[in-house]
C-alpha cells in the first residue's frame, strides 16, 4: 500500500474518532457516535495489517482474539457501580501498551523506520522516552487508583514526610536518565526509566484521597492520551498523534471541570492529602443541637403531600445500589401527579457523570436528570428536597463560612426548599470532614439507614 493511501485511511479514521466524541453532545446522537468510533478503529487496524512488513497474521490474529475476548467478557459483566474501577484498569492497560510499543521500537528500530539499533535518531529517542515515561506513570498510577476504588487499598490519603521532595527528586532523576539514554541508547537505562516512572506513578497517586478520585481518573485519562501522543511522535504516526491529543485534551478538560466542582486547584489535588475519612477536628460540639429523626412512614407522608420534589443523589446511593428502589419510589410519586426531578452535582460519585449512568441504568429518563446550573434556581419553588447518599454538595457552609475547607465550592441550594429529607447511614461527616448545619434545621428530617432499604420501606408506606 502506498504511504499516501495509508495517510488518507488514517485521516479518515482520525476524523471518525472526532465524530464519535462529537456525537456525545446529545444522548440521541451518541449511539451513532460510538459506532463511528468502532468503524474508525477497524479502518486503522486493517490499514496497518496491509503494511508490507506486517506478515505474522496468525500471531496478531490470536493476540487480538485473546485480548478482545477478555475485554468483551469484562465489559459485559461489569456492574455500573464499578465503572470507575473499570475505567482506571483500562487506563493502566493503555499506559502499559505504550511502554511495550516504545520498547519494541528501541529493540527493532528498522521495523519502524527510525534507524538501526544503536543509531536511532536523537529526536526519536527523546520522543520515545517521554512516551515511555508518561505511559509508565499512567500504568502504575491507574493500578493504584483501581486498588483504591475497588477497596483493595485504603481510600485514605497516605502521607509521609518529604513526600513532594522525594517525588521531585525522582522526576529529576528520570530527566537525567532520559538525557543519558538519548546519548547512549542503552537498553538497560531504558528499563531503569520505566521502573523509576512506575515508582513515580505510585507515589503521585498515593496521597490522593477517595473523594478526589474523579479528578485522578480524569487526569489519568488525559495521561493515557499524552502517552499515545508520545508514541505517535516517535513513530511519526499522525493518527496516533491526533487521537492522543483528543484523548489528552478530553481528560484535561474533565479534570478542570471536576476540580472546579470542588473549588480546588488541580495542583492542590495533585499534591494530595485531602479527601479521606479523617476524624473531624474542626468540629464544634453538636451534642446540644437537636436533630429531628424520622422513619419511612414519615418520609412517605411528607413526600406524598408535596407538589414538587427534587432528588439529590450522591455516592452513598451508588454504594447502596439504591437507584432501582429510588426509581420505584419516584414512579409511585409521579402517579400521584407530583413533579419529581433529579439534581446532579458535578462531583457526585467517583467519576465524572457516574450518577447519570446509574440513574439511566434504573430507567430514569434523562430529561428528568438536571445539572447544577440548570436546576439550582428551582429550589426555592420546591417543597421537598430528598438527599440520598450526598452530603458535602448540599452544605451551605460552602457559601457562608469562610473558614470551612469547602468554602467556595458550588453547592446545590437544598436549604432554600421548604422541607429537606436526608437519607444517611449516620451523622458522620462527608469526605471533607465538615459538619453539615442542615442536619440541625427545623425543616430537616433525618432518615437514618441504608439508602436502598429506606427507599423500599418508603415504597411500602406510599
Amino acid at each position: 500500500m502506498s504511504s499516501n493511501l495509508v495517510s488518507i485511511l488514517y485521516l479518515i479514521s482520525a476524523f471518525l474518532f472526532i465524530l464519535s466524541l462529537r456525537g456525545l453532545s446529545h444522548p440521541e446522537s451518541s449511539r451513532v457516535g460510538n459506532i463511528l468510533g468502532i468503524i474508525g478503529m477497524i479502518i486503522a487496524i486493517v490499514t496497518t495489517l496491509m503494511f508490507k512488513n506486517v506478515l505474522s497474521y496468525t500471531e496478531i490474529g490470536i493476540a487480538i482474539l485473546v485480548g478482545g475476548f477478555i475485554g468483551t467478557i469484562i465489559a459485559l459483566k461489569i456492574e455500573m457501580t464499578a465503572l470507575p474501577q473499570l475505567i482506571a484498569a483500562f487506563h493502566s492497560l493503555v499506559g502499559l501498551a505504550a511502554v511495550f510499543v516504545a520498547a519494541s521500537a528501541l529493540y527493532d528500530p528498522l521495523t519502524f523506520n527510525i534507524g538501526e539499533i544503536g543509531k536511532i535518531s536523537k529526536s526519536s529517542l527523546v520522543e520515545m522516552s517521554i512516551g515511555t515515561f508518561i505511559g509508565a506513570v499512567t500504568f502504575s498510577g491507574s493500578v493504584l487508583a483501581f486498588g483504591k476504588l475497588q477497596g483493595t487499598i485504603s481510600g485514605n490519603p497516605i502521607i509521609f514526610k518529604f513526600q513532594h521532595l522525594i517525588n521531585a527528586l525522582i522526576f529529576l532523576f528520570i530527566i537525567v536518565l532520559i538525557v543519558y539514554f538519548v546519548l547512549t541508547q542503552s537498553t538497560s537505562i531504558f528499563w531503569i526509566i520505566v521502573i523509576a516512572s512506575i515508582l513515580l506513578g505510585f507515589l503521585v497517586v498515593i496521597p490522593i484521597g477517595g473523594a478526589d478520585m474523579p479528578v485522578v481518573i480524569s487526569m489519568l485519562n488525559s495521561y493515557s492520551g499524552w502517552a499515545a501522543c508520545g508514541i505517535g511522535f516517535t513513530l511519526s504516526n499522525n493518527l496516533l498523534i491526533i487521537t492522543g491529543a483528543l484523548v489528552g485534551s478530553s481528560g484535561a478538560i474533565l479534570s478542570y471541570i471536576m476540580s472546579k466542582g470542588m473549588n480546588r486547584s488541580i495542583l492542590s489535588i495533585v499534591l494530595g492529602g485531602f479527601g479521606g475519612e479523617q476524624p473531624n477536628q474542626n468540629n464544634t460540639d453538636n451534642s446540644d443541637k437537636i436533630v429531628k429523626q424520622g422513619n419511612a412512614e414519615d418520609a412517605a407522608y411528607i413526600l406524598k403531600n408535596a407538589d414538587s420534589i427534587i432528588i439529590i443523589p450522591g455516592y452513598g446511593m451508588a454504594v447502596a445500589q439504591a437507584q432501582h428502589a429510588l426509581r420505584e419510589m419516584v414512579d409511585l410519586l409521579k402517579k400521584e401527579g407530583i413533579k419529581v426531578r433529579y439534581a446532579i452535582h458535578p462531583v457526585a460519585g467517583r467519576m465524572p457523570g457516574h450518577m447519570n449512568v446509574l440513574l439511566a441504568e434504573a430507567n430514569v429518563p434523562y430529561e428528568e436528570v438536571l445539572e447544577l446550573e440548570e436546576i439550582n434556581h428551582d429550589f426555592p419553588m420546591t417543597e421537598v428536597s430528598f438527599v440520598i447518599g450526598a452530603n458535602d454538595v448540599t452544605n451551605p457552609a460552602a457559601k457562608t463560612d469562610e473558614t470551612s475547607p469547602i468554602y467556595g465550592m458550588p453547592i446545590l441550594d437544598v436549604e432554600k426548599s421548604e422541607t429537606i429529607l436526608f437519607v444517611k447511614r449516620s451523622m458522620a461527616t462527608g469526605y471533607s470532614g465538615v459538619d453539615n448545619e442542615l442536619f440541625y434545621r427545623n425543616n430537616t428530617t433525618m432518615l437514618f439507614g441504608d439508602a436502598k432499604k429506606m427507599c423500599e420501606n418508603i415504597v411500602k408506606s406510599l
Binding site: S2, V6, A14, L24, S25, P27, E28, S30, R31, N34, G37, M41, A44, T48, F51, V54, L55, S56, I60, G67, G68, F69, I74, I78, L83, L86, I87, F90, L93, A97, F100, V101, A103, S104, Y107, D108, T111, F112, I114, S224, A227, A228, F233, S236, L240, I242, G244, A245, L246, V247, S250, G251, L254, D331, M351, G353, N356, V357, A360, E371
Partner: protein
Amino acid sequence: MDSIVNHSSEVFVIGLTVFFLACVIGYYVVWSVTPALHSPLMSVTNAISSVIIVGAILAAGPEGFGVSKIFGITGVILASVNIFGGFIVTYRMLSMFKKKSKAKKEQ
C-alpha cells in the same frame, strides 16, 4: 510509512502542527459534550486511545521471533482488551440513556 521516513526536524514540525491542531479540535469537541455523558466520554476516549495498537501491530509484524516481536504481541493483547472492553462498555452505557416515552415502554 512504507517509504523510508527521514526522521528530521521537518517531520517533527509536521507532527507538532498536527498535534496542536488536534488539541484545538479536542478542546472544542469535548466542551460540547453534555455533562450527563461524561462517563461514556471517558470510556470511549479510553477505547480510541488504544489506537496505539497500530504501533503494536507493526512491532508484532515481522516473521520469526525476537524480543521486539514479543513486546509487540503483548501490546496488541493489551490494546485489544481496551478496544473491545471500551467500546462495549460505552455501548452498554449509552443504550441505557432513554427518553421519557421510551423509558416508560420498557418498564
